[in-house]
């Protein structure tokens, strides 16, 4: 059942379906603490219930310029290898079950998306990229296009 549950969000200017298994919660953050000399996709640190989370900017992972973090920004909290991360999201749309099967990515994607997208899925008449949130954390940052 859980396999069919997806979080539909707008990340790095693209609507995607995130596999919900790895997702912890969706929260809002204030101004994050900057981490000097960190890799460019690290947008900063913030605290949530006495845990420190590392904020990831998916734009940079995809190869787009970074976006500033606005107070009240919604982020998707995920756990990867026992560390807490949060992905900056442009918008959170919905959590829903999608009965349709995941299909192989058809067509040519931007190189950044090609690296993070696992598959495609049909939802309410739109094709969405299926992404595992951990890819934004673990993959090396794409060179700016």
């Amino acid at each position: 059942m859980m396999e069919k549950l997806y979080l539909i969000a707008r990340i790095a200017d693209t609507r995607v379906a995130l596999r919900s298994r790895a997702i912890n919660s969706v929260v809002t953050v204030g101004t994050p603490v900057h981490v000097p000399a960190a890799p460019p996709h690290v947008a900063g640190l913030f605290a949530l219930r006495s845990r420190v989370f590392t904020l990831i900017d998916p734009h940079v992972v995809i190869g787009l310029p970074p976006v500033p973090v606005a107070p009240g920004q919604r982020v998707i909290v995920v756990d990867v290898a026992e560390h807490g991360y949060a992905l900056l999201a442009d918008a959170i749309e919905d959590v829903c079950f999608i009965e349709a099967p995941e299909t192989r990515v058809a067509g040519k994607l931007l190189p950044g998306w090609a690296r993070v997208a696992d598959a495609m899925i049909e939802h309410e008449g739109h094709s969405l990229l299926v992404v595992d949130p951990s890819h934004f954390v673990t993959l090396p940052v794409a060179k700016a296009a």
Partner: protein, 796 residues
């Protein structure tokens, strides 16, 4: 259900086995110790009982055999001897092996134990062994109290403990948030009062929870007696092993990290440190060697010392060894200082044994020990006494997770620095700091000592913020490891706080600049700087060897020291008054816990490390956690002077309004228009003597009858005073009859009192003839001896 039972059994048995091993060795040392035997019997009996319940036939059979044998001894049917102990230890080893297998697979592996059980029966015929080869001083009370303690404690799974810890941290953060909101909302006093009560109990709870993570260091020591015994037997050495300070507590994670290094060091001591018996005899030592492991807490650090009375380290042998295994080159070898020679043992690829033995040479070297210690923020120290023994001291922070951190600002952001590596903090604008730009790099000279200067903003890849107040900029002298130091410039110093440290995300740790993250009370994450990583990132060599103060630039350092002589340390007295003291007499400023101060024989004293120093205070200060002390040093003795805070270091003005009478205050100077009282270190030191002459004793009066060109008052008088004499000049009137008088043979004869013993001094080293009883004036020992004789004679 059965799994829970099994887990409990395994945890309990592991503990019992460790305890039984140590108790057995202690019992072997003193077979008459009935209490010890009873304790071991009970332990084995417990294992037998619980294994029967869980139907573990092998465990039951093994423990039954051991119990049986021990029971025979208790009934007096069987002698207690080394062979029996060895056989029981073999059973204990087998039991440990079985338990490990049980833990892994959940079932008891099939196998045959008749060998170890048989060995137990065999020893019946062996005669009572002569002297036990190993003596272990484990005190009986220790074991009894442990038994008592185990009745009064319960087992809690570690994850539960950790989740309680996280929960409490959450509560603290929520409380802080709530406190902020309360302040802003202007709630009424009764609400705030009850909130404060809640706050206090939360603080108490946080404390208790951190204590729950602490374990007595006994646990770490428990396997050592057994290791010492077995190794000593293998090598044919006789060793008396003792432990102390087992009640010291340490975070359980920390404990895991020092277990292997400690065992390695003890093994090393037995294998390499302790000489073979004949060599000990030849060296005039007892055949039984001593190895002592002790733990003590000092501040928020734990010191664990392993001391042996073996041969110690030979610096020359170490160098020869290092050369032969090509750890260093010949040129480097020549340049090594004595300490660096000893520290060769920490180099990778170095092993002190002429050949790698089965015991110590297991691929774990002292380099790994050192690396492991450094990983958890600890250090390893060597105290070598060649020919007489070696002490290895491991110094570790009490907990991994909570450290004392200094908060600093750079580029408008806060960072934490572990307090333990901070040596000194100075304002960049201070008089004692000189910054030089050379060849694009920066160098700071503090009181004649040079340090490479790193600006935190630049190391972190930013620029120094021009809008920050330059006067706030501070320099932190950092000692990231032994023999290394550098200066870190930051925009401002904030304060220090106890910080809960958690590892940062791998991609942040990978920068090498940070050691973790922490959440201070304001709820915004702060990065903990890796003081060693900063160095690596800056690409600076921070080794102290070959720096200015070592060789050719020594003269320059001396000139700087001369300048310091005219510098004044301004501080705020405990009474809140601004006072000053010449910087040159201050050895350092020290902060000690208030508990280190105590009163003895009407005088306040302080314990710093293993030394005790007098403190200039009428009473032990109350109601504070820590006390700042100025350490005054006159070359021989130390006196501590409590202060509130250091204010600044300034140039000592020329105009000093001297005080009318000698006392604590030498005079008053104006600093920036403010009157500042000058402390008279001379008077202060005189009050607290050097321990040789109690201040209450009357000091003999020495009169300098005739002085040539002021030599006596400039050169001689200070020596006399430090030797406990009061000195007056020839032309000073004194109501008191001098005990002794001194005159220079060459000087124009002054008024010499005929009724006072006289010591004559001459300027030339050689006496003019056999009847010449004068003393060469630079022969300090003869001079003081003659004075002493005359004073004693005059009194008798």
């Amino acid at each position: 259900m059965i799994d829970d039972l099994l887990n409990d059994f395994l945890a309990e048995t592991a503990e019992i086995l460790a305890e039984a091993g140590g108790a057995l060795v202690a019992w072997e040392a003193d077979p008459a110790d009935r209490a010890q035997l009873d304790a071991i019997f009970r332990l084995v009996h417990t294992i037998k009982g619980s294994s029967g319940f869980l139907s573990l036939p092998r465990v039951t059979a093994l423990s039954h055999a051991a119990e049986d044998a021990l029971d025979q001894v208790r009934r007096g049917n069987r002698p207690a001897n080394a062979a029996l102990v060895t056989a029981v230890l073999a059973i204990i080893d087998r039991l440990s092996g079985l338990c490990t297998a049980l833990g892994n697979s959940g079932t008891e592996p099939p196998g045959d134990d008749s060998d170890v059980i048989g060995a137990l029966a065999l020893v019946d015929d062996t005669p009572v062994a002569a002297a036990a080869p190993v003596e272990v001083e484990a005190t009986e009370e220790d074991i009894n109290t442990d038994l008592l303690q185990s009745w009064r404690s319960i087992r809690v799974p570690l994850p539960l403990l950790d989740s309680v810890m996280t929960g409490v941290t959450d509560i603290v953060l929520a409380r802080n948030e709530f406190a902020r909101m309360l302040r802003e909302s202007g709630a009424d006093a009764s609400v705030i009062a009850s909130f404060d009560r809640l706050s206090d109990s939360i603080a108490g709870m946080r404390q208790s929870v951190s204590q729950m993570r602490m374990q007595r260091i006994d646990k770490l020591f428990a396997p050592l007696p057994r290791i010492v015994r077995d190794l000593a037997q293998d090598l044919g050495k006789k060793i008396r092993f003792s432990t102390s300070g087992g009640e010291v507590e340490l975070d359980r994670e920390m404990m895991e990290n020092i277990r292997d290094p400690l065992i390695h060091i003890v093994r090393n001591a037995i294998d390499h440190g302790i000489e073979p018996l004949d060599e000990r005899v030849a060296a005039g030592k007892g055949v039984t060697a001593n190895i002592a492991v002790s733990a003590r807490q000092s501040g928020n650090q734990i010191e664990i010392e392993v001391r042996d009375d073996g041969r110690g380290l030979s610096p020359d042998a170490l160098v020869a060894k290092a050369l032969s295994v090509r750890v260093i080159g010949a040129a480097e070898a020549k340049a090594l200082s004595p300490r660096e020679k000893l520290e060769l043992i920490f180099r990778p690829g170095f092993s002190t044994a002429a050949k790698i033995t089965a015991i110590s040479g297991r691929g774990v070297g002292m380099d790994i020990v050192k690396a492991n210690l450094e990983k958890i923020g600890g250090v390893v120290e060597l105290r070598n006494d060649e020919g007489r023994g070696l002490s290895i001291v491991l110094r570790v922070p009490m907990t991994l997770t909570i450290i004392s951190g200094l908060m600093v600002r750079a580029s408008g952001q806060y960072f934490a620095i572990p307090r333990g590596s901070v040596r000194e903090i100075l304002l960049e604008t201070s008089d004692s700091v000189r910054i030089d730009r050379i060849g694009g790099g920066e160098l700071v000279t503090v009181r004649g000592e040079q340090f490479p200067l790193l600006r935190l903003e630049q190391v972190l890849g930013g620029e120094v913020d021009a809008s920050e107040d330059r006067d706030d900029r501070a320099i932190i002298l950092i000692r990231p490891g032994q023999g290394m130091s550098y200066a870190l410039s930051v925009a401002a110093i904030h304060d220090h706080e106890e910080l809960v440290i958690k590892p940062a995300a791998p991609m942040i740790m990978a920068t090498g600049l940070y050691a973790g993250t922490t959440l201070p009370d304001n709820g915004r994450p702060v990065l903990l700087l890796d003081v060693q990583g900063l160095l690596a990132a800056a690409g600076v060599d921070a080794s102290e060897a070959g720096r200015s103060h070592d060789a050719d630039v020594e003269a320059a350092a001396e000139a700087a020291a001369a300048r310091d002589a005219a510098q004044l340390l301004l501080f705020c007295d405990v009474g809140g008054q601004m006072r000053g003291v010449r910087l040159s007499v201050i050895e350092r400023v020290e902060e000690v816990p208030a508990a280190a101060l105590f009163e003895s024989a009407g005088a306040v004293q302080v314990k710093i490390g293993s030394d005790i120093f007098p403190v200039h205070a009428a009473a032990v200060p109350r109601g504070r956690d820590a006390v700042k002390l100025l350490r005054l040093h006159d070359g021989q003795s130390v006196l501590c002077y409590p202060i509130e805070a250091v204010i600044d270091i300034v140039r000592l003005p020329d105009a000093v309004q001297t005080a009318p009478a000698p006392g604590l205050i030498a005079g008053v100077v104006l600093i920036g228009g403010q009157p500042v009282e000058l402390i008279d270190p001379f008077w202060l030191m005189a009050q607290y003597g050097t321990g040789q002459a109690a201040p209450s004793l009357r000091q003999p009066l020495c009169r300098i009858a005739a002085d040539a060109d002021g030599w006596a008052s400039n050169f001689l008088a200070p020596i006399l005073r430090s030797a406990g004499y009061r000195v007056i000049g020839g032309d000073e009137a004194s109501e008191e009859r001098p005990d002794v008088q001194l005159c220079l043979t060459e000087a124009a004869s002054g008024p010499i009192a005929s009724d006072v013993p006289l010591v004559r001094l001459r300027a030339s080293p050689a006496a003019t003839g056999p009847e010449d009883d004068s003393i060469y004036r630079y022969d300090r020992a003869a001079l003081l001896e003659a004075l002493r004789r005359q004073v004693a004679g005059g009194r008798s």
